[in-house]
Point group: C2
Chain length 243, copies 2
């Protein structure tokens, strides 16, 4: 099996590592397309979303399947390349340094037709135990949902880190709590695992927190919006509130 | 060593488990105070924040130290009990079922004087390897920061879960991504670990996400506020934006 992986970023370099044991991989510079092998089985375009269409247009005619790796870009961006096209989307955050276990990374596949879809599915299954078929609209929802689950979450950790530093503490003190919060969602849904003053409608504690944040408009706005959102999603039987 | 633990909730029951090997523990019903041992070395009040003052007032005279376990309640709530008082705050989310490793739970200690503080510190150190001294104002900041790091984070996971379900997927698909996001903050600060469309100021992707959320005012508001917050905290050199 021969694979062209086009890209110079972390996704391209991790994918080429992941495929090293199962295929002949050529890692291709997207600016020059030098050494592009038109006789490959797969061409994976792992460049920034904005650049996918341009790179695709520059690819020489190939007998293989062309797929992009973007969460928020529809399959239709490859429309000019015909129906041997698809999407090969790994849902993971790829850092340069990270030593990832590729077999646990979820891959999401879409194909312009069943035969392409099957081949891309098998390609993903050759490196991962976690492969699903989803369409472009589902993938966009998945990408949006991951922004909530990961990017926004990470930003809340950064805000927490900064608040702790301002008060002479550091992020390490909350790590065990975060790890346990995540662990709990393995036993019950995040909805059922919700704790804290908002879900208890504990207005005294909420006021104490808002008063601590009184000089920080941004944190106060985020605190207020997320607290309201938690309250609106949970009905809470106040008569159950025991000491 | 003898300890009274007053409370009927998860904190009281976990603390009594944690101390089982190092002390004689009496778990006391806060409504009756039946079997309260005035000859104990420590009395730990592990009841809801609102009830601490009432329960403290009802405690018979004791030779021991009285401490509460609340993150957002100042030490001064125990002022009527004199200066043998303090705070014994474990920063963890305690579920009934959870099998916790108590030695990794961070404890935060405050005492009305140095001698009390030292004794409460040693008490915490008898079950945990992670004990710090902080004052009431720091503890309030810590409690507020944990709401950002854990309660709000968990709620974002719940919103993500619900968005995924609406689109025929489930929360398991984002678990590896969350785990990796958390792992990364062990190698760099959450600020430096920030990824996603907001930090890249990738307005195309942000628009695609907002258009997916167009019928959900609440998710749209949260998405917009957190995206603005990420952008305002990060300066991003657009000229570095490579394909």
């Amino acid at each position: 099996m021969k694979i062209n992986i086009i890209g110079r970023g972390n996704v391209a370099s991790h994918l080429s590592k992941a495929f090293a044991n199962v295929a002949d991989v050529s890692l291709i510079n997207p600016h020059t397309l030098e050494n592009y092998d038109a006789d490959s089985d797969f061409t994976i375009i792992a460049v920034s979303d904005m650049a996918i269409a341009t790179v695709a247009r520059a690819i020489p005619p190939t007998r293989g399947i062309i797929a992009h790796t973007s969460g928020s870009t529809p399959l239709s961006v490859l429309i000019e390349k015909g129906n041997q096209t698809g999407v090969f989307y790994p849902l993971q955050t790829f850092s340069k340094d990270a030593d990832l276990d590729y077999s646990t990374i979820p891959f999401f596949i879409e194909g312009a037709n069943d035969s392409v879809q099957k081949k891309l599915y098998e390609l993903a299954a050759s490196i991962s135990c976690n492969v699903s078929l989803i369409d472009s609209e589902q993938r966009r929802a998945l990408h949006t949902a991951s922004v909530f689950a990961c990017n926004f979450t990470n930003h809340l950790w950064a805000l927490c880190d900064s608040l702790l530093h301002k008060n002479g503490m550091n992020f390490n003190v909350v790590r065990p709590l975060i790890a346990e919060t995540l662990r709990k969602t393995g036993k019950m849904s995040p909805f059922d695992a919700q704790t804290g003053p908002a879900v208890r409608q504990d207005t005294n504690t909420i006021s104490a927190h808002l008063s601590l944040l009184q000089n920080d408009e941004e944190l106060k706005n985020i605190y207020t919006l997320l607290t309201q959102s938690i309250i609106s999603h949970h009905t809470y039987n106040k008569t159950n509130n025991k000491i």
